[in-house]
Each structure stands twice: as C-alpha cells, then as structure tokens.
C-alpha cells in the first residue's frame, strides 16, 4: 500500500484529500501519475502533465523519475505559494 495526499487546487479539483492505493513493487512518480490520469475526467486533467504539479515522497520534494516504494507517503500538489 501507499498513502496518497492531494493539496490545494488539486485537492479541490479531485474532491479528495487523499487515498490509500495498493502497491507491491516500486514504480516511478511519472508512472503513478499516468495511472491516475487514466481514471479520466478531473484526474486526467490534473495528471496528464499539462499542469505544473509537484510530487513529494515521504515529505521530501522529488523529481518525476523518483521511485515510490510500498509503504511510502506520496503527495501531489501545485507549485507552492507561501511566505
């Protein structure tokens, strides 16, 4: 299993702040994004790569080539705007 988290504009577009997904072997962030985009509708809009999106694994910012392991916490969110 992995725990997915969605924040800000993404959370609102997906109408969901997170979910648990089954995962038994490592996959890349971009592979996970492709499988989420395949859900269609808002998922496709948000994860098809046309919008700027950041990913974090276990609370560290990562590139889309990073590998997700079973048990990881994976977060997706728009570019940050704090400060």
């Amino acid at each position: 299993m992995i725990q997915l988290l969605y924040f800000a504009r993404l959370r609102e577009a997906l109408n969901m702040d997170g979910e648990a997904l089954p995962l038994t072997e490592a996959i890349s962030v971009s592979a996970l994004m492709a499988s989420l985009a395949a859900r269609g509708g808002a998922w496709q809009e948000q994860f098809d790569g046309t919008r700027p999106l950041r990913a974090a694994i276990n609370q560290e910012l990562v590139a889309n080539t990073a590998l997700i392991q079973p048990g990881d916490e994976v977060a997706f969110f728009p570019p940050v705007t704090g400060g």
Partner: protein, 150 residues
C-alpha cells in the same frame, strides 16, 4: 533554531528581542515580516487562506534553515508561518536570524525567505469581492532562489 507553523498571530518584536538577549555574542538580528496586502495585482483582497502539508512543512523549513547554517556563520534563527484564514494587514510569516556580523544575517535571512517561497508546502487561496481562487506560483520566486546557486 525555532520553527513554528500556527494559526495564531505572533509578536515579531518579542521574537527579535528573544534572539538578541539569548546571544550576547550576536551583534546583529535581521528579520523579515510578511503581511497580507489589501491589493494583490490590482485585486481587492478580502481574505487569504493558507493551506499547508503538516509534517512536510516543518521538515522542509528545517532543511532550508540547516542549509543556511552550512553556508553562513549564523547564531540562531526563528521561522514562524501562519496557516488558516487571514485578513489584510495580518502577519503571515516571520524569519529572523542573529549573527555576529550583519552581512551573514542579511544573507541568511533572505536565503531562507527565498527558499521558503519555492520549497515549503504552503498554498494561498485569495478571496476577493468576485470570488475565490488559488494563487499561482511566481517565476520571480524561482529566479530569486536560483540566484543563490550563481
């Protein structure tokens, strides 16, 4: 190093005083206070709601501050960032840095703010008379950060 993410307001003067008095060897305290403006790119701001990623927020701020300690000879730092719904003129963020000499405190304080703007997981939603919208990240914040690697 103090990092706080909180809904409550903070007392910038008291934090600066605390940094000063805790370190008699610190000659300089440089601080940044950010507040909610009443106008943002010509839009009247009614309120600003800050969302964050609990856990990652604190870790990312601590990592940014640790980088500053590695680059400069600084003595102490405090970063306070508010979350929740704020009004114009409410304080959003405080970064304060003490050091023996001023140049390092200025550099470290600005470095921490620049990295906070691009790496710390906060998001702002603005409410105006015509509705609500999430703010977009600004290219100028990316370039401000990249300056430090020049």
């Amino acid at each position: 190093m103090t990092v706080r993410v909180q809904q409550a307001d903070f007392d910038a003067g008291e934090e600066i005083r605390r940094l000063r008095l805790a370190h008699p060897e610190a000659g300089a305290v440089v601080s940044f206070v950010g507040q909610v403006r009443d106008l943002n790119q010509d839009r009247q701001v009614a309120s600003l709601t800050l969302e964050h990623y609990p856990g990652m927020t604190e870790k990312s701020l601590e990592a940014i501050i640790s980088s500053a300690y590695q680059r400069w000879n600084i003595i102490d730092t405090v970063v306070i960032h508010r979350v929740g719904t704020l009004q114009p003129l409410d304080q959003i963020v405080l970064v304060a840095v003490s050091s023996a000499h001023r140049g390092e405190a200025f550099a470290a304080c600005e470095f921490i703010m620049d990295y906070l703007k691009t790496d710390a997981p906060f998001w702002k939603k603005e409410k105006t008379p015509t509705g609500e919208h999430w703010l977009d990240a600004r290219d100028s914040d990316q370039s401000a950060k990249q300056r430090w690697n020049g």
